[in-house]
Symmetry: C2
Subunit: 478 residues, 2 copies
Amino acid sequence: MATITGVRVEDVRFPTSATADGSDAMNKDADYSAAYVVLETDAPDPAASDSAGPSGSGGTLGGYGLTFTIGRGNDIVAEAARQQAAVLVGRDVDELVADMGAVYRDLTADSQLRWLGPEKGVVHLSLAAVLNAAWDLAARRAGKPLWRLLVDMTPEQLVDVADLRYLSDALTRDEALAILRSREAGRQERLDHLERTGYPVYTTSAGWLGYSDDKLRRLCQEAVDAGYQHVKLKVGANLDEDVRRLTIAREVLGPDRNLMIDANQVWDVPQAIEWMRELARFDPLWIEEPTSPDDILGHAAVRRAVAPVGVATGEHCHNRVMFKQLFQAEAIDYCQLDTGRLASINEIVAVLLLAARFGVPVCPHAGGVGLCEMVQHVSVLDYVAIGGDLTGRVTEYVDHLHEHFTDPCVVADRGAGTAYVLPALPGYSTQMYEESIDRFRFPDGTYWVGETSVGGAPVRDTPVPDTSVRDTSGHVPH
Amino acid sequence: MATITGVRVEDVRFPTSATADGSDAMNKDADYSAAYVVLETDAPDPAASDSAGPSGSGGTLGGYGLTFTIGRGNDIVAEAARQQAAVLVGRDVDELVADMGAVYRDLTADSQLRWLGPEKGVVHLSLAAVLNAAWDLAARRAGKPLWRLLVDMTPEQLVDVADLRYLSDALTRDEALAILRSREAGRQERLDHLERTGYPVYTTSAGWLGYSDDKLRRLCQEAVDAGYQHVKLKVGANLDEDVRRLTIAREVLGPDRNLMIDANQVWDVPQAIEWMRELARFDPLWIEEPTSPDDILGHAAVRRAVAPVGVATGEHCHNRVMFKQLFQAEAIDYCQLDTGRLASINEIVAVLLLAARFGVPVCPHAGGVGLCEMVQHVSVLDYVAIGGDLTGRVTEYVDHLHEHFTDPCVVADRGAGTAYVLPALPGYSTQMYEESIDRFRFPDGTYWVGETSVGGAPVRDTPVPDTSVRDTSGHVPH
């Protein structure tokens, strides 16, 4: 018998604002952060001896999960996660992981905490962190990477973990089962294909708004050299600058590679339509987050106006009810669900099923902290067991902060374009090195303690670490 | 010159779960709570000598605001408010209150905190609390009740405080100004009318789900005796029980008084439609929160199916973008905006303008802690300056927890049905007695310290205070 003996939640913040990584028209000074949850157990960790580095588990099995924020307020999410995860302490590990639908229901049963959303904002982000840790624990206990634990489930098991509440006008349980059963044919072929080629990715590393033209040109060229067929740029702060930057990007990419653009919610609906009239000539595959993430009808109006340019959104789409409506309203061409924003696999499976039902390709949002590590599992699940198609699918990849993870994602071009190499170690790839936590824990990690403040402006007496801007071609195979 | 010298945020929780007040199909054990914000200044308080009781202001002017939660997690909202309000410390009071649009923009400018919503959940609730305190301060500094400060504004001033971002596809600034200008005729007559009759209210005190049939019957009769023309009941947990309870209510109310029902989000869309087929025979004026508050298209589908029964929602509608779509989709008959959920007057004015533009009556949500105190100001503003109509309007009133406020709302029947008597004291009526805070502050208030716990169930060694279930007719005139 193994028991969950404790919960540890850490507020980890990386000083990415110092290098303009992650800068866009809405978010100019992001410090990429994680509210990081550890479910501690007294079970031995069978993988402990294989570990590439210190796991902080002391040889016992743990579940590691996180949600992503961009700095201030990460402590608030961490505190919410602490309160939500408390109900798991003392629970039997094997009983817990045997019914992950029940775990979800237990964690969402507190009507007092529900009020603070419901199903949105801080309490939903923190719920994602806790559930991500629980799913990581389940996969580690099974000795499988999470994607394999999920594709090994029967249709009934997969539907039983999914939260289908509020969805029955668009997707009943029977319809969900029918989708999953229809995907049983060809599963092994699809899995073999992914094992050979990986899951296709695009890069956002080139196009942050705070980068100079020279840096933009160089990074676009590096992306081309690394085999990327898709590159995404940030737009929306200034039309003339957008035109200049897209001209550079299109020159480097040529006419055939895909260029995506992302406005990060800065426009009203009429403004999005007007602005896109000017940017359409760069032939973008999609415009991402053209307006408020809550504006389902607004996205639909933009989509009608800017076609054939596609509309994409999802990183701030806060739950399955919102995605249901984006599909019902025919508001988006690409579903960019987020593994730190939705309530982990339980809600993600529901959204993948909805997307399959409505025929909308899922191209998950990633970047941030640990999102790339998670989305690779989700995309494999989608192709093998739910969506069953790679047409129009491409998952985000951003080349930073992976060095803090014990099982970092790996991208490589194996002849079919740059792609995520399938994770092979047990878990959700969400465990961070304890050294990274000790260094970047806020406010008492060694990095942050080394900082002194003058007149409110942070002045660091240790150099800013090069946590990003790695050469996109410098990957080792997994 | 007067300065904001500090911010104090209190986590205040009332043990309402002990008496089933506030119980509904979704929320069975609510402990009505407030994240309470005090903006402290060094300005003398001209009203200090009039104060009916200890104000805790020490004779200096303060701004008092809150948002409402139902217990656990109130500390999380309080901490978010603390972080957001910090930017106000050191600011000049008169400069601040002279440009409340700028205050709103300053408090929402932090893109790192924005990420945690955006514009929803904990960070939006806490923003409401801080902005409510700022508006209270502005009204106190002007020596006016908040509704009067607002109706004394010119159309330009009122539009300048409103957040119209993301609304221009439904309401431009010019259209907003045109609505306000069109309401200038007849303002004085409408105000005179309200001064005479008050603003019409309905009561929810009778119909909490946890009440026995006898208590339900008695409270419905008391509501009739007190002059109420509208009574609301909770439904949705069990169809047979709903039929039994509505039969009792309709018997007592007779055929002509209005009966509203509230499902508190428990149904899926098809289930709502099916359930309402059974309850329609009780001729409810509206069904409130039939499904997820995020489900705009779902509400529209329910509305089409259940007409002529109306559909109402709003207490969990998290921002103006959601209300815009509820109006665009013709999803609701009644807009139940919430003064603790929306970002105070700045966002409420935007929603009132949208409602006027689309011709949807605004019947604000109240109850909770301090919501009644606030909505009376909003409803007066709406009738006098924005909506300009009382047809179909009735504002919620719940008879509990008012005794904790220094300027509690008052309802009375002055011949036109039970109504809120217009507040006369300066401010937003949001100041609580320091004694109440000292007693119910969590976890160290005298009430909570006096409680001991046996086997997880709270056993109080002080009697549960009678914070509710007051005789609905026992009001003193304001």
